[in-house]
């Protein structure tokens, strides 16, 4: 499933068409690298998603892709990637979450014709806690996909600067 960056950008910033690609990119990363299936989240989730990983995009598409989850989910992601029990995961959690976000961003842009060549990714940044405000120069409403990872909510967002 591929879409054209130029087509989408030309259509008055109708980026909503990219939402399925964002979800597919995330599903593939979790399936291939963590060995688990993400499932749709059917109810609005009020859980505190207090770990945030962000990767910046620059070039043909400028913005920020973020992955939010709670600490338990983040530890479980790291444990699945490392092949160890979640209780034994230590400082690798931030590294793991950053890599997951990086792979989702890379996989997403590779699904959009014209974007893989002309869009660079930043190194990931991971923030823990909820008492912060994110001010991005992204000026579109952005896209968000909410899914369940092993029954726990995660949110993947793409804020786009037109």
């Amino acid at each position: 499933m591929r879409s054209s960056v130029n087509e989408a950008l030309a259509a008055n910033g109708q980026h909503e068409a990219w939402t399925p690609l964002l979800e597919l990119a995330a599903r593939e990363v979790f399936e291939l690298m963590l060995g688990c299936q993400l499932v749709p989240s059917t109810t609005p989730e009020e859980a505190s998603l207090d770990v945030t990983s962000m990767v910046g995009l620059a070039g043909k598409l400028c913005g920020v892709l973020s992955l939010r989850c709670d600490g338990k989910s983040a530890a479980l992601m790291a444990s699945k990637m490392l092949g160890v029990e979640a209780e034994k995961v230590g400082p690798e959690v931030s590294d793991a979450l950053g890599e997951v976000c990086n792979m989702i961003a890379g996989n997403f842009k590779n699904k959009i014709s014209g974007l893989s060549e002309g869009c660079m990714l930043s190194v990931p940044t991971v923030i823990t806690g909820t008492d912060y405000s994110l001010h991005s120069q992204a000026d579109s409403p952005g896209l968000e996909v909410r899914l369940l990872f092993e029954g726990m909510p995660i949110a993947i967002s793409l804020q786009i600067r037109r």
Binding site: L32, M33, D95, G106
Partner: protein, 128 residues
């Protein structure tokens, strides 16, 4: 069959572990796995060690994977050692650039052990 000595270069320690596990799952017998967090560290490792395979990320701090390949020929121990890039940068331009710099293979993240096997086993020439 004897196992091989491999060097895995990635700024993520988690990803280095995943690459090592994927190599083993692909049926590649590893006698020794060395690690480096960027290209400059990898060059230092190679000055002191001999390996038969290098797997390398592209986007890394200090020295990226493409610059690392370019400088590889200056290290006596590394001459002729096959390098396979493993990266999120999946465009054709990146593939062409990596191959023109001397990479022997290119694997896009996310990947499966089967993809690792497909790209790595042929270039080992029966060493694994």
């Amino acid at each position: 069959m004897n196992g091989i000595h491999a060097l895995i270069v990635d700024d993520s320690s988690v990803m280095r572990k995943i690459v090592e596990r994927s190599l083993r799952q692909a049926g590649i017998e590893l006698t020794q796995v060395l690690e480096a967090g960027n290209g400059a560290e990898a060059l230092c490792v190679l000055k002191e060690n001999r390996v038969e395979l290098i797997l390398c990320d592209i986007n890394m701090p200090v020295m990226d994977g493409l610059e690392f390949i370019k400088q590889l020929s200056s290290v006596e121990n590394a001459k002729g050692v096959p390098v396979v890039m493993i990266t999120t940068e999946g465009s054709e331009a990146h593939v062409v650039q990596a191959l023109s710099c001397g990479a022997r293979g290119y694997i896009r993240k996310p990947f499966t052990p089967d993809q690792v096997k497909e790209h790595v086993v042929p270039i080992l020439g029966g060493k694994s």
